[in-house]
Symmetry: C2
Subunit: 217 residues, 2 copies
DNA sequence: CTCTATTTTAAACGCTCGTTTTATACACTC
DNA sequence: GAGTGTATAAAACGAGCGTTTAAAATAGAG
């Protein structure tokens, strides 16, 4: 029983690293099992299939991130209600920071891993992740959406919908292509940067884009 | 000789359609050749390899788009120089509109196809497309970059670099996931939309994001 | 018509993939 | 310590992939 958990853990830890690095479809079970030093068949034994392994990997991060995000959003809304103040776009967007950092509990480089996984999940298995997220954490996502709406009362819901997905795209692209871009930036501008700094650069961009005046009021 | 071109054309026309729909790696040569009603081996005969076919497909669009973009940028710079006026971020970004529409020469739905191909090219074969684009059309890309810089003199080059790639990510994501998102938007807001309208929604978002004040001057 | 070069075809090759099977080793209860 | 359920191991399966081969068909030139 003790040895069993060891193997299952070795698989999941290795898998999420390789998935984050090369994507889900580009990572074979043979890569994972040889890197983790376990038998090929053990993936199917412990998880049932590759698809189930992918879901297990994603679920491990979502189950930490989403409740933490929910708490941040609720806290922000509560504070605003108490002192009658209002919150802006940046306030709402900043709610993702702490939940991201909380992923260090899962793994030291959890935040980076999770964002890269998200990027690949969206670009490869398209609808699946969205469906999974919405059925399990739909309330949190809707609260996030509603609070962005509250922070930008002049924008129509349709515009906001698209701008949030543009933002998501910007973030996912920055994560998936992040390492390559960071190397180019380093050679062009002489500035070494880490994934966290890239994320910090994203916030002003996204906040301004979302809060831009609606072209058709 | 006449029949030969017919086959080669059938392959490329079918390939770019399937590539745009499912991505490069997800589309097999057997899908392409059976859909195009040609023999499997004819791809390797006419193009040499699948990789070469992908490059041929991309080159067909780039060779129309990039020179057209170059012309637009040069024209904008010329007008600004003549009457001493200046141009802003939107002016520069709007330079991609006409070149996109010019892709209808290649194919009726050329603009949509090209943007989707771009999305997959960037997310799948990562560095390859960038290298190819830079070696063949590096001047045009640099001119675009420089003019965005001119339109936003207060931003440092590093910030601009990242914001342009954030913008690219937003656009690519909107294209690759565009159909699914459009269906969701239609069911949530009752608004049917086409790919062109999605692109129109992108411009204000991206322009505001790029032109946002630099957080560290 | 004949010869030659180009194009098309059918078949197979070699490889990788996820999955399944079958047998062996292990841990724990009685 | 025998017996039982769980875990690991090696091997093979069947399918799909890009590519290659070698023969058949087709076209154009002399």
């Amino acid at each position: 029983m003790a040895k069993a958990l060891r193997t299952k853990d070795k698989i999941i830890v290795t898998a999420e690293m390789l998935f984050a690095e090369h994507g889900f479809e580009q990572t074979s079970l043979r890569q994972i099992t040889s890197e983790a030093d376990v038998n090929l068949a053990s993936v199917n034994y412990h998880f049932g299939s590759k698809k189930a392994l992918i879901q297990a990997v994603m679920a491990r991060y979502q189950s930490v991130f989403m409740p933490a995000l929910d708490a941040q959003l609720t806290e922000l809304a509560r504070r605003a209600e108490i002192n009658g103040a209002t919150y802006n776009t940046v306030d709402v967007l900043a709610c993702v920071n702490a939940p991201l950092l909380a992923l260090k509990q899962v793994r030291l480089d959890g935040p980076v891993i999770y964002l890269r996984l998200l990027g690949y999940a969206y670009s490869e298995i398209q609808g699946h992740l969205r469906k999974f997220t919405m059925t399990h954490y739909g309330n949190t996502v809707q609260q996030f959406f509603a609070m962005i709406q509250t922070a930008n009362p002049s924008l129509c819901a349709n515009t906001l919908f698209w701008r949030l997905h543009f933002s998501l795209g910007a973030m996912l692209f920055a994560q998936v292509s992040g390492q390559a871009l960071r190397e180019i930036a380093a050679s062009d501008f002489g500035e070494e940067a880490h994934a966290e700094e890239t994320l910090a650069k994203l916030l002003p961009f996204v906040a301004a884009g979302i809060a831009a005046p609606d072209p058709r009021p």
